[in-house]
Amino acid sequence: MKVLIILQWIFLLYMLGLSLSYLLLNLISIVTITRYMRSHRLSDFLESFSDYELPISILVPAYNEESTVESTVRSLLQLSYSEFEVIVINDGSRDRTLSILQESFGLVKVPEAYQQRLPVKTIRGFYRSSYYPNLRVIDKENGGKSDALNSAINTCRYPLFCSVDADSILQRDSLKRVVQPFLENPLTVAVGGTIRIVNGSTVQGGFLTKAGLPGKMLVRFQIIEYLRAFLFGRLGWSPLNAILIISGAFGLFRREQVIEAGGYSTDTVGEDMELVVRLHRMLRLKGQPYRITFVPDPICWTEAPEDLSSLRRQRSRWQKGLAEALSKNIQLLFHPRSGTVGWLAFPFMIIFEWFGPVVEVVGYLFVLFGFLTGLVSPLVFVIFFTLALGFGVLISVMALLLEIISYRIYSEPRHILALFLAGILENFGYRQLISLWRLEGLVKWIKGGKLQWGEMVRKADWQK
């Protein structure tokens, strides 16, 4: 009995802690986004001299991306920015990724001397486009996404690099927006951008022309999750200089600092998060002032899985990556010099993200077990479930509210109601499933195992 009572209190306190943290993050996000929107409404009045923008290398790791690589590269080449190069890294694809690039962009093999500052797998060749002087392709042996990114970091020419997934769709002015924190604060070492889900939207010529809601409920659930993750998950931590995740789909980094930190880790599946946490660790422990920040404008669009098996793989992989990133940098936790990262963001991540699935799944099982054995009355069962449901809906509604006061991508009342409905329905099965898959990710992390590229069934039916 005592054990059960203790467990009840643990679950309740966990839920209270999570709610309070999310509420606080939400409040910070509302203040931050309101300020951001106000200042950026007027900033375009001031002309900028494009010669003074920092040049950027865009790195596109590609593994078996024959269906999307050409359109991605074409849209990247049309980005509006004064000086940038695009480097595609073919990581030993088994499909026609390289030959499609060769045919579409007139690639010519060139000898290239480069400084190998990060260790990488053997490079088979360097190519340059005969049509676009700012397009280069690295063909290398398969070594995983991190290895592919590291090989491009070795050869890229510019002080900032931007990692972009081969299926990402950027807005034409994405680079201009994401580089702003680097121009405004020289201490900036990394900037993350907001990722939105492209399913249901219209894409023409490699750019998003109309945002829309997908018909599939599974994708709508993910839209709600993305709104939560980006509109206050990241925005809330940004003013505290404690963002621990910059999505691999779109992030801008200062090259020298990344090389100093050792580049992307090749023995983790969450290389994007691990790099950011490691940068925090390196710079905090050295006592070096820096900023890792976040740009809330929706600047990158990505395809969400539409089938359960792809979603399962993705979530299990993300959880494994998170566990790896945190465990590898555990030194940050409560370190005297770790500041807001080590004393706030890191413990939050450990309690609510790392162990979250364990508490959630055990909680569900506990209540179910109690209900079935008669230890918990139907009334208590209903009350606990209502609490969990209410909490889930509240967080989703807050994210929606942030969306409405800021970017209004989903602005029509029917969109709002549809997403509100999705915010309710996701609590009936979807959330539990996600918790289970995340738990599976934790089990995989404990077991360890070989790294592979995260493969997903791509429909790309939004593309015209």
């Binding site: 001397a113 209410g390 509210l401």
Partner: protein, 360 residues
């Protein structure tokens, strides 16, 4: 309740209260969201209507502002019209700008902007400074100067630009030292303001400020030197190169010198080809790419074997850019290199040159 686990009341009560609170808040938030959206939609419609009325008025006023009948303007619509007026101002030149200023006076926007300048809201102050700069409101100079000197964000930058627009000559001794201090202001915006002010106004204060700046400030501010008169800028660079030894300053001086240096500077620049810091060697060899003569070749070729990749690569590029070196001579230089790294650098640069020439 008697089926519940031991002593459950306090926890159950708490959970019930929480659940009720959370669900009520969620529903209230949903209602708030719909209301906010409705309010936004009404505002957007109103704004569209306002623009439909005022855009043609401003367009007509930019051609002839005297024969115009002005539509009524509600107090709450002033900020939107002010923004629109500024957008027109930014896109027009010459007489049209003057006409819009006359229209602005008819509307009383100067008085409104002056009032907004003391607002607590930063975005209101920013619009005010923008407007006063575009009007050329000399009376607001002290307030704008204070704003430029004390506010670090966008409002400070806009105030600085307003001063530059009102009186560039009087603004330059205030703004140039300010730009040196404000390292957090985006360089691209500072550059735009300096370019707007013109070389005639900025050259003297810029050079005098540079000669007094700390090495750290110098390294950053030298990037703006191309906006000054070339002869004066070159003189200042020569002086700075002779007086400073910090690598960041030397690097910045050599970058600024790339398009300005003359044949008489070759000897000085060549000295930096042997500097212990690779960043200095890279910039020196970049500058040599434009100036080098045949007799300078051995020193550039020697850098093909530099321990730093960038120095090797830029040296190879410098050689490939020199007009008096033919393709065959480049091949010969490459074949003469005993160092593999030197050969690799030249091989890469030659391949790049070949692709570029093929595409021409």
């Amino acid at each position: 309740m008697n089926k519940l686990i031991a002593n459950p009341e306090p926890i159950i009560n708490l959970v019930v209260l929480l659940a009720i609170g959370i669900i009520t808040t969620s529903l209230l938030l949903l209602l708030l969201m719909l209301r906010v959206r409705l309010h936004q939609a009404t505002q957007e419609d109103h704004k569209k209507q306002l623009l439909c009325i005022w855009e043609p008025v401003l367009a007509a006023a930019s051609i002839d502002c005297f024969a115009l009948q002005l539509p009524a303007l509600a107090k709450k619509d002033y900020p939107d019209v002010l923004i629109l007026w500024n957008r027109f101002q930014e896109s027009l030149r010459g007489e049209s700008k003057e006409n819009l200023i006359i229209l602005g006076q008819k509307l009383g926007i100067e008085i409104l902007a002056e009032r907004m300048l003391s607002s607590k809201d930063e975005s209101e102050r920013t619009i005010a400074a923008l407007t006063l700069g575009n009007i050329g409101a000399r009376e607001s100079w002290p307030a704008l100067e204070k704003m430029a000197l004390t506010e670090v964000g966008l409002s400070g930058q806009v105030a600085a630009r307003a001063l530059a627009r009102i009186d560039p000559k009087a603004a330059s001794p205030i703004l140039i030292p300010l730009f040196i201090r404000r390292h957090e202001w985006p360089q691209s915006r500072v550059a735009a303001i300096l370019s707007d002010m013109g070389a005639e106004v900025i050259t003297a204060p810029m050079i005098s400020a540079l000669l007094r700046a700390s090495p750290e400030e110098l390294a950053r501010f030298l990037r703006y030197l191309p906006f000054a008169y070339q002869n004066e800028a070159l003189e200042a660079l020569r002086l700075l190169l002779s007086e400073h030894s910090e690598a960041e300053v030397l690097t910045a001086c050599l970058v600024a010198m790339r398009n300005l240096a003359e044949d008489s500077d070759i000897a000085v620049i060549k000295n930096f080809l042997h500097h212990p810091e690779w960043a200095v060697r890279v910039q020196a060899v970049n500058t040599m790419a434009r100036l080098a003569r045949r007799e300078d070749l051995p020193e550039i070729i020697a850098l093909l074997s530099d321990p730093n990749w960038w120095v090797r690569y830029r040296s190879a590029q410098a050689l490939a850019e020199l007009q008096f070196i033919s393709w065959e001579q480049l091949e010969e230089i490459k074949n003469q290199q005993e160092d593999r790294y030197a050969r690799d650098a030249l091989t890469q640069v030659m391949a790049e040159k070949q692709i570029r020439e093929k595409n021409r």
